[in-house]
Symmetry: D2
Subunit: 311 residues, 4 copies
Amino acid sequence: MSASRYAYLGPEGTFTEAALRSMPEAATRELVPMVSVPVALDAVRSGAAAAALVPIENSVEGGVTATLDELATGEPLMIYREVLLSISFALLVRPGTALADIKTVTGHPVAQPQVRNWLAANLPDAVWESAASNADGARLVQEGRYDAAFAGEFAAATYGLEPLVTDIHDAQNAMTRFVLAGRPARPAARTGADKTSVVIWLGDDHPGALLELLQEFSARGVNMMRIESRPTGEGIGRYCFSVDCEGHITDRRVGSALMGLKRICPKVRFLGSYPQAGVVPEEMAPLRHGTSDEAFTEAAEWLARCQDGRA
Amino acid sequence: MSASRYAYLGPEGTFTEAALRSMPEAATRELVPMVSVPVALDAVRSGAAAAALVPIENSVEGGVTATLDELATGEPLMIYREVLLSISFALLVRPGTALADIKTVTGHPVAQPQVRNWLAANLPDAVWESAASNADGARLVQEGRYDAAFAGEFAAATYGLEPLVTDIHDAQNAMTRFVLAGRPARPAARTGADKTSVVIWLGDDHPGALLELLQEFSARGVNMMRIESRPTGEGIGRYCFSVDCEGHITDRRVGSALMGLKRICPKVRFLGSYPQAGVVPEEMAPLRHGTSDEAFTEAAEWLARCQDGRA
Amino acid sequence: MSASRYAYLGPEGTFTEAALRSMPEAATRELVPMVSVPVALDAVRSGAAAAALVPIENSVEGGVTATLDELATGEPLMIYREVLLSISFALLVRPGTALADIKTVTGHPVAQPQVRNWLAANLPDAVWESAASNADGARLVQEGRYDAAFAGEFAAATYGLEPLVTDIHDAQNAMTRFVLAGRPARPAARTGADKTSVVIWLGDDHPGALLELLQEFSARGVNMMRIESRPTGEGIGRYCFSVDCEGHITDRRVGSALMGLKRICPKVRFLGSYPQAGVVPEEMAPLRHGTSDEAFTEAAEWLARCQDGRA
Amino acid sequence: MSASRYAYLGPEGTFTEAALRSMPEAATRELVPMVSVPVALDAVRSGAAAAALVPIENSVEGGVTATLDELATGEPLMIYREVLLSISFALLVRPGTALADIKTVTGHPVAQPQVRNWLAANLPDAVWESAASNADGARLVQEGRYDAAFAGEFAAATYGLEPLVTDIHDAQNAMTRFVLAGRPARPAARTGADKTSVVIWLGDDHPGALLELLQEFSARGVNMMRIESRPTGEGIGRYCFSVDCEGHITDRRVGSALMGLKRICPKVRFLGSYPQAGVVPEEMAPLRHGTSDEAFTEAAEWLARCQDGRA
């Protein structure tokens, strides 16, 4: 039964699986690896899975375009939650392999820039070939095709390998952000440290359109946390923007900004409001003057009094 | 009984009286001249008059500061209507006076720059002395203190004078705008060619405060028609702004802009929504995309659907 | 010889004269009272005076429109200096007059709102009539036409009167700002606490024109200190703006903002850069990041390197 | 000798090679395929090649992140030219293969979304596996590992294959934009239909930073043609922006915008000014009022006159 099933970007042993297993509810679900982000999300659309965990952003490589594009188009989906995972690699080898034995290494193309410096310093002569995923790389080492694979340390057991070196990462604090996407539903309750995601299409090609879009947020003191341009597929120079902002759709300032966008842009897709991973309400910056729910309510009441001749 | 009484900036024979008599309802009211704008408006506040007509803006001299300041402070008043009057002067003299006899001329200080060129060309040697009002100037001519007065042609009869020259005005299209102010009430119904007046105080002295104020209007495509800075009386460099914008407070874009101002500014005083004098709805420029009442309503409905998980 | 002559808004005994006498250089000049602001400024234009001191702004009454309009139009003039004067009134009477004897009072119309509360509390039954200037009011008391005049205490001696009450002012900190205007010249050297004055005409009637004007300042972190709208005389709804901003025309950020205005506005009139009265450089707020002369110079050098292929 | 050598993203038979061969100067150069974008660009940095052609943007898949990131970091490079190429695929097979024989297909991962619909309609049961490049896919078909490869029709001859189906593309007008990158040099002469590329880092995390960045362009009427956010590698939520704008660095409005960016942003990297591919000057939109070189020059001259007291 699908309600008990969570899809994820497989195969087994990926960072996505590790992120999914960090969620408490994963313990009671059937976790099903999928071959690609589109396949994982289509499983949700078809009802074969209740939700799917997919990577959306990497602090080194940037947005995961397959995820951004799948969420922006096709039958609507919604982000229920986000999960952050620190990314560091282990060099996985068949038992008995020493560093000096390694002539060929593999891993996902995204891993390569994150271990490039380590490779140059420690295995300068090793030849890199890309694999379809980090876990696939581990499998190819298991099969003897390569000498070593960069993958999460947790993948070693799955493929009968052992971690020769661990905690490899060129960039400090490399993180990947994953989202749990499901079918449209009432957003999770406001926690006070929330995030709202939307995709916004710009109407025509007029130069100030992006500026106007940003002003709808800034006019209400709504902080933008992420903005990524994506081609609409209608030709060079036509973009939509994937945006995360602080706050919950039931916060008046956020709702007001979204309505402003809806009015001036030809298309806005609401992708969900959900708790910011790793942030508690106490850590949030104070709201800008005049942007609290109370300020919105008082202004609405004042307007009503003006309209009634009671101001 | 006060409901039948309209105050105006007197004395008899002023342009204000002429403007008041151009209003159809004036025919059924008792019209009472007052010695100053504050006195006229205080008559309304005290209930001695139902409304008062006072000048608010002159195309040559600018805002009438007494009116702007009286409307901005004290017990609230509201603008019910506006009246536009073309201003041209007559040179009023005692019967029998010829142009060559005129050694001294008088008139309100506001009249002086509007007839300066005419005087230089036609009466270069005449000495100007200011009077408290154009009508007062006429009275002083009647009393023999000056040889001629600039005033409205309609003032001649009141003071037993005759217009020696008429239609004198240095600036083309000189106009004065008058407002009929009353106690706060439900604004007149929307006509489609309306104007809304507010006074806005800027909170602190931060450099971008005026910019933010203007953006509340521009973000909703609300055209500003007039903006005048006035000192708040709290010291050099502290201002409030008297603003007229296009549209009616019941237009969603106007209401939304006013609520935005109310949230970010420490004080906003609503002065009324009323028909634009001399403009019919057919002449209004089309609204900017996304600022119609329908666009606001659709955006609000979309937001509700998003919040309910039905988007 | 005109270089030794300073005109001022007379008659003798006005606050303007007091302000002029507060300037050290006044001691070596012939000070000539003029009947009006236009006459004082025309004396400068004609060469009859080297400069003229005129009031430009009052913290209670706002901009002095005659001065604003005279500086905005006609043959160009420039502001050399500004002077600030605290305004408080004395009640001047003929020797021997007691408070209980006063039935009529006079003064400049501008004085009236500044003493209104005092009058209501102390002379509730006295009748007010306006005079052409505070000093004229004193003269009329001397002539016996009124019982008392509000004027500067320094005017008593000139008219043989005595100050019955002093230090009368409804508003705390009432100040008038005066400017010393002369013919166009190289601005005074930068002091680090300077002010720059301009008059800016908006091109067409497009709604965002004022916003764009303000953005030219804000984009360079140039604080606006005063903005006043004035009618252009071309009809209701056509304005120019008289603006003071912080900084000197030789500051790169100010020059850059002025050039931006010059490009987008049909007309900009530079009125001068001069020291801010009563402010020392140490009290100035720090510049916004990226707006120092050094930042401008570095950016220009970087651009040159980019253009040369050396970046 | 390196001056005669152009590197490109290989292997032979890629769209990049086709784009390179469309450039007239390619006829006189040695064209050297490289295994990756970083390797191609490093060949330029090291002097092994005079320039390198690499893809930078695809109308379906968006920015080519390897190219964007390589240009943003490391030893500076500059864009000399851009080339646009329409992208359509051929299905390449070993001679004699019929559509019904095809069980497995390959191609670059970027090709997959561009042929997905075609595959679903024509080869619904074929299994897709990704190859390192379209040309690599062709090679794997040649070796018998897959039955068919999506690649440019021009790749058929290189690998002894034949195009079974041509002109396959799900999206209309799919285009890829390539840039010829070299070592920093004086930009190509202005043509009147130019493009300028920069990478801009936002200083701190303050909410309005992106807005301010865009205003530097919009304030000078400089149209932005492309904006892509890229992670800086310093953690989730830290971005730089890759921007193309209309105009040449020697256009005053562009230079002025770049200097504005340089002042307010901690880092700006100039990537070059070069002719817009496929656009002639006659097709350019007219400049916004006040943004021509003449307007800038006049404003600078006016400023100098003001500073000299000659305005």
